[in-house]
Amino acid sequence: MKKSNFAKYLLYKFKSHIGIFAASIVLSLVGFALSITLLGIYVSNISEYYDNSGNMLNFYPQWLNDLNMAIVIYGILGLAVSALGLLALAFITPILSFKFYNNRAFTDMIGSLPLNYTERFFGDFLSGLAAVCLPYLITVPYVCIMSGYVGSFGIEKIADLPANFSQGAFELGLIVFSTYTFSSLMVSLCGKISSSVFYTLAGAGLIPGTIFVYTLSSLSGLLGVSADVMAFGMVHWIPPVGLIPDFVYFWGDYFATMFEGYHIIEAQTYEYVIAAILAVAYAVGAYFIGKNRKTESIGKDVVYQKVFWAFAVLLEATAIGVVFCISEHADFITFIFGGILGFLSFIIIDLIHTKNPKRLPKDIIGCAAVCAVCLVFSGVAESTKGFGAEEYVPEAEDVAYIEAWGNRFFIGQDEPSVYEDPEAIEGVICEHKKLLSQKDKLMTGIGIEIRYKLKNGMSVLRMYDAKYDSGEPIMTEAASNIRSLTQKGDYPFGVLSMNSGEYTDLSFTGSFNYYEQVSEGNGYTISETYMIKPEKTEEFKELLLDNVKNTAADMTKYHDVINAYYTKDGVRQSEVFCIFSEYEDVYEFIKDPDNRVTISDYRKDPILSGSEEVVMDYMFRIGYRTPDGGEEYAELRISSDSENSDAKELISLCSSDLSNSSALIYAERTSPNFGNVFINRKDETRAIELILNLIKNSTANKE
């Protein structure tokens, strides 16, 4: 039994890639590994700083702030550079590893070695893969361990960091792996280095590009369909290019807001699975193409002529598709222009490839055929409204849950309303169908957005708004009906925690819009800020909540905004309510001068004018971090009639002549709410000392 030379060959090939291996190690380390290490240093130091700080009101030292900034900048630039480097390695390594396919000298030497095809292929493939990906496989566990270390400090604002870092590292790894397998496939199809480079780059872009432009062009004119989201979704799982925008979007955005606890994860698990399967399929394709290609095809641009024609067709179809996309509604002229553009691209690539103008008649026929197919596709897409996408509403049994939100619900609604109950899902679907039955009055917009999350992991997003001239409150009705489907006892938006009653210091401010007729045909809007009188706030609250619960919103007319401020569990909070004209009770209440005061009223107020001595409360709120990394606030309330010398001095430092832009420390005058007063920058240090003293004294007195 002959002993296989596979292991020897693999080792020999791997040694020949040692430079790539070293570069890959460096890039992997300067990518995620260094980022997460820096972050670990930052987090451990800031945590130690919290732990050792006797005074919770200490500020971060400058070097920690600098490190924070360095991590963010490094995350954006350093990781981008290392990711690009890794991609370049993954792209170029198969060209070097499969020299057998593009260098005649190696063909003779490697081809006559005592190896069969399978041994040789896997020697070439695995050695290159190991050189590119092995360092990465070492880095990822390190990133996971360090992420866990960072997460163990329990700092709330970066609580998602471990998972995000691990996911990002995994995502980049998948991109690198799929780039490698795709490049391997293309190298197997080509006989020259130059054509391997060209076809790898072209193929990586043209395949998802063609799908993208045709999805976009077939959906762009549809009602309620977010064509760009769907087109992006169609190529989202086609590696390697399909995965890159998500990675760039996610990490670019993520690092820019690293310490604000904000992140976006677009890709779903199933998309990663599909991408991984496709990446492996590229490798399998490379194996079988390599097995069937003739050794003597070295030196040719492409091993199989059909590959060239497939690329030519893709190029032409993409050129036409791009033109279709530019025009929202593809018309006849667009088609002709797209056809000419596609034809020119077809001829150019053919002449470059064949260097034979005699092929022109054949090219015209081929080009015309491709144009015809593109036209038929677009025509069918247009006539069938995106192959039924415009009127597609998922079946209730296929829906896991629905998210609904939009301007027709409430402005200021950060989170969508979620419908999981089967009856609610049926109800939303019913409302969706009712909307679709009035298509002529609708347009695509953000009035109502409905996202179906299907049980199979897919999602369907539809977005509607009313045409400006529809004249009917169809969106309002739909929004109201959808909102009414919310679970009993819940409010259709936000937390509305002021309803719990466990609050203090409730106050309302808002803007109230007048429409004043100054002459026929002309008018203007006056916006004035109002405040509900303190003694009327409870009454107003009940009225507002009652309206919120029971009144449909009608966006056909302008609305006003009410800000509710309250303190709950020692934390100052606010909520925004949009007041529609149907909130008649609320409107009546606001309009009644006995219930409210306006800024113009305040200006006449003896307190504001200073003509009358009044007792006022000043509230300073100090933010600090707890040892476990959480955020807390301490409030210092002092009264203008306080006998405490520190309090008197602090109040004397306050000025109402400054603004946010010229001061960092300010106090809110809370009783009544007259707005803010500010500490001059030159007095900041003294003010902080006074605030600390007052808080310490206050804490000591309580104990």
């Binding site: 296989s4 020999y12 000298a105 063909t107 081809g111 005592p114 190896l115 050794t295």
Partner: protein, 299 residues
């Protein structure tokens, strides 16, 4: 033994080898002759499993070669390209061949290396073409394969190195019964080294023959007659060609040389002598006898 039966190879419709059949005996030195584009390199690539045939069969010791690691373990192919070694030093080349060929002899390598005086730890990219070829040949010989295939083996070697390389190969053949197949368009090189030759022309095998037999079977007689004789004057001889130049008659004939000389003498020439033929002349006359035009062969 290497055996080819009806081997055909086409490149995009161009027939590079057309129904070629022949055998190479184990332990022999086979010279593959032919002009540029005759199909010599293609033939060697088929014999070493680099190319797959489009028709016919090729085997070494009864085993197929293409995609057969077992058979390939017995052979080494040194092509006319040397770029594959550019990133290696001679020492790395030694390790490379040693890795794949368990019979590799460090002793032989050291001896041959010392003989040629090539630097061991210098990248071969800095070598001349001849030095690269020497490096490849000494590694191949040291690997002690059963079958060694060399494409344009002596290209780029200066005369003294040619002699040295030939000597190395002859010794290796004597030591291990190695079969050597060499392609060349240089008849003199083949004549000096090979015992069997085959000639390819436009993808066809014109002939394959034992060189000594070939040389012994054809001869040239120079004579002077009062009246220039014609072919029909020597019915007992198998004359390939009869020429007259400056009063001398040259007779190229097949068969026993002494008998031919006697037959010519019997016609009463004033002068008659047997002249040794070079391999080049033998091939030309042989192929003319087979109906090939000399001018056509030159192309």
């Amino acid at each position: 033994m290497i055996k080819l039966e009806n081997v055909t190879k086409k490149f995009d419709g161009f027939v590079a080898l057309d129904n070629v059949s022949f055998e190479i005996q184990k332990g022999s030195a086979y010279g593959l002759l032919g002009s540029n584009g005759a199909g010599k390199s293609t033939m060697l690539r088929i014999l070493t499993g680099v190319y797959k045939t489009d028709g016919g069969t090729v085997s070494i010791e009864g085993e197929s070669i293409y995609d057969n690691a077992f058979t390939k373990q017995k052979l080494i192919f040194i092509s006319d390209e040397t770029a594959q070694y550019s990133n290696m030093t001679l020492n790395q080349m030694r390790k490379f061949y040693k890795m794949f060929y368990p019979n590799f002899s460090d002793d032989i390598f050291s001896r041959l290396h010392a003989l040629l005086g090539l630097p061991l730890n210098k990248k071969t990219s800095a070598f001349s073409k001849g030095m690269k070829r020497q490096a490849a040949v000494i590694c191949a010989i040291a690997a002690r394969p059963d079958y060694l295939f060399l494409d344009e083996a002596f290209d780029g070697l200066d005369p003294s190195m040619r002699i040295a390389v030939k000597k190395m190969m002859v010794e290796a053949m004597a030591d291990s019964e190695m079969t050597v197949v060499i392609s060349s368009h240089n008849l003199k090189e083949i004549e000096e080294f090979c015992d069997t030759v085959g000639m390819l022309h436009h993808g066809k095998l014109i002939f394959t023959r034992d060189l000594y037999e070939l040389k012994g079977n054809i001869h040239k007689i120079q004579a002077s007659f009062e009246k220039e004789p014609v072919k029909e004057d020597f019915p007992e001889l198998d004359i390939l060609l009869i020429e007259h130049n400056s009063g001398l008659t040259y007779i190229i004939a097949q068969g026993d040389a002494e008998k031919s000389l006697e037959a010519v003498k019997a016609k009463g020439p004033s002068f008659c002598d047997l002249i040794p033929l070079s391999l080049e002349e033998i091939f030309i006359y042989e192929m003319e006898a087979l109906g090939y035009d000399k001018n056509q062969l030159d192309s």
